[in-house]
C-alpha cells in the first residue's frame, strides 16, 4: 500500500475494534512517516478526551433559570391534570344525569302504556 492510501485509513484506526486491514498495518510497521501520522492522531484523541474535563463556566443565573423552567412546566402539567380531572368529572356527571333522565323517561313511558292498556 502507498502512504496516501494508508493515510486515508488512519483517522478510523483510532476507533479500535475493526481495525485497519492487515496490509495497512504491515505498511505502518515499516513506514516512519505513517507511524508519525498515527502518533499525531493518537495525540489528537488524547487532547479531545481531555476536553471532557475542561468545563466552560456556565453563565450566572443559568441554574436558577433551569430550575424555574422545570417548576413552571410542573405547574402547567398539574394545572392541565386538574382541568382534565374536572372535565372528566363533569362529563361523568352529565352521563349519569343523562342516564338517570333516560331511565326516568322509560319508567314514565311504561306507566303511561299500562294506564292506556287498563283504560282500554
Amino acid at each position: 500500500m502507498r502512504c496516501e492510501e494508508v493515510a486515508e485509513l488512519l483517522p478510523d484506526v483510532l476507533e479500535g475494534g475493526a481495525g485497519a486491514p492487515a496490509r495497512a498495518v504491515r505498511h505502518v510497521e515499516t513506514c516512519l512517516r505513517c507511524q508519525a501520522e498515527l502518533a499525531q492522531y493518537r495525540r489528537l484523541l488524547r487532547a479531545l478526551r481531555q476536553l471532557r474535563f475542561q468545563l466552560p463556566e456556565p453563565p450566572a443565573g443559568l441554574l436558577s433559570s433551569l430550575l424555574g423552567g422545570v417548576e413552571a412546566s410542573a405547574e402547567r402539567h398539574a394545572l392541565r391534570a386538574a382541568l382534565l380531572r374536572r372535565r372528566v368529572a363533569y362529563a361523568a356527571a352529565l352521563a349519569v344525569a343523562g342516564a338517570a333522565g333516560a331511565a326516568g323517561a322509560a319508567v314514565l313511558a311504561g306507566r303511561s302504556r299500562d294506564r292506556i292498556r287498563l283504560a282500554g
Binding site: 483510532l14 501520522e37 492522531y41 481531555q50 476536553l51 475542561q54 468545563l55 453563565p59 443559568l62 423552567g69
Partner: protein
C-alpha cells in the same frame, strides 16, 4: 457574546461530572440512581437535584456544540424540559448522563440548524477552566496541557456539522448509532463526518513535515 470569564479552577470529580455519576457518587445524600428513581416517581425535588448535579457538564456539551453561550443556555432549557417530561420513558438501560447527553445533542443540533448559524472562534482558551486532576504520566500531561487550548479553539472553528460529530464521539464518547440518531443522519454519514473532522483537526494542529498548519498541501 462570549462565555464567562475564567473561573477558579475546580476539580471536575468534585463538581458535577459523568465520572461522579459512573462512580456512584452521592448528591444531597442520595445516589444518582436513587434520585433518578425518585424523579421518575414524580418527585420534583429529586429532579431538581439531578439538574444541580449535571447542568455544568451538560452546559459544556451544549456550548461545544453551539459555540455560543446564549445558544447553549437556550439548548439547556429545552433539554431539561424534555428530560423532565420524558423521564418516565427513561428505562435506565444507559447511564442517566448518557441519556441527558443524547437529549442535549438533539436539542443543540436542532437549535443550530434552526438558527442557521456558523459561529466560530468563541471558545477561546481563556473561556475554559483548566483540568488540574493528577495524571499518572507527567510527560503525557505536559503534552496534553499544551495541546488543550489549541484543540479547544480548533474544535470551535470546525463547521457545525463536523464539530457536532467529533464532540459527541471523541469528547463525550457516544456510540455512532446514538450520534446518528440524535443528529438525524445515517450512521455512515456520521462516520464520514468524524473521519473528515479528525483529519482536519490533525492537519491543523499536528501537521507533518510537508503539510501546512491550515491543512492544505504546500
Amino acid at each position: 457574546m462570549g462565555p464567562a470569564a475564567h473561573a477558579a479552577p475546580r476539580d471536575p470529580l468534585t463538581a458535577s461530572s459523568p465520572a461522579r455519576l459512573a462512580a456512584g457518587a452521592r448528591w444531597g445524600g442520595e445516589t444518582p440512581e436513587a434520585l433518578v428513581d425518585a424523579a421518575r416517581a414524580g418527585d420534583r425535588s429529586a429532579f431538581e437535584e439531578l439538574v444541580r448535579a449535571t447542568y455544568a457538564d451538560t452546559y459544556a456539551l451544549a456550548f461545544r456544540m453551539t459555540g455560543d453561550e446564549e445558544d447553549a443556555s437556550d439548548v439547556l432549557q429545552e433539554a431539561y424540559l424534555r428530560a423532565y417530561r420524558g423521564l418516565r420513558r427513561f428505562r435506565g438501560d444507559a447511564a442517566f448522563s448518557t441519556w441527558l447527553y443524547r437529549i442535549t445533542a438533539n436539542c443543540a443540533s436542532t437549535h443550530v440548524t434552526r438558527r442557521g448559524r456558523t459561529r466560530t472562534s468563541v471558545l477561546s482558551p481563556d473561556a475554559v477552566v483548566p483540568d488540574d486532576r493528577p495524571e499518572h504520566d507527567p510527560e503525557a500531561r505536559a503534552s496534553v496541557n499544551s495541546d488543550r487550548a489549541r484543540v479547544a479553539a480548533a474544535v470551535a472553528d470546525l463547521p457545525p456539522r463536523l464539530r457536532a460529530v467529533v464532540v459527541l464521539r471523541d469528547v463525550y464518547d457516544l456510540p455512532h448509532e446514538a450520534i446518528a440518531a440524535e443528529l438525524g443522519i445515517s450512521e455512515t454519514a456520521a462516520k464520514v463526518r468524524l473521519h473528515r473532522a479528525r483529519k482536519r483537526l490533525r492537519e491543523r494542529l499536528f501537521p507533518l513535515r510537508g503539510e501546512s498548519a491550515d491543512g492544505s498541501d504546500p
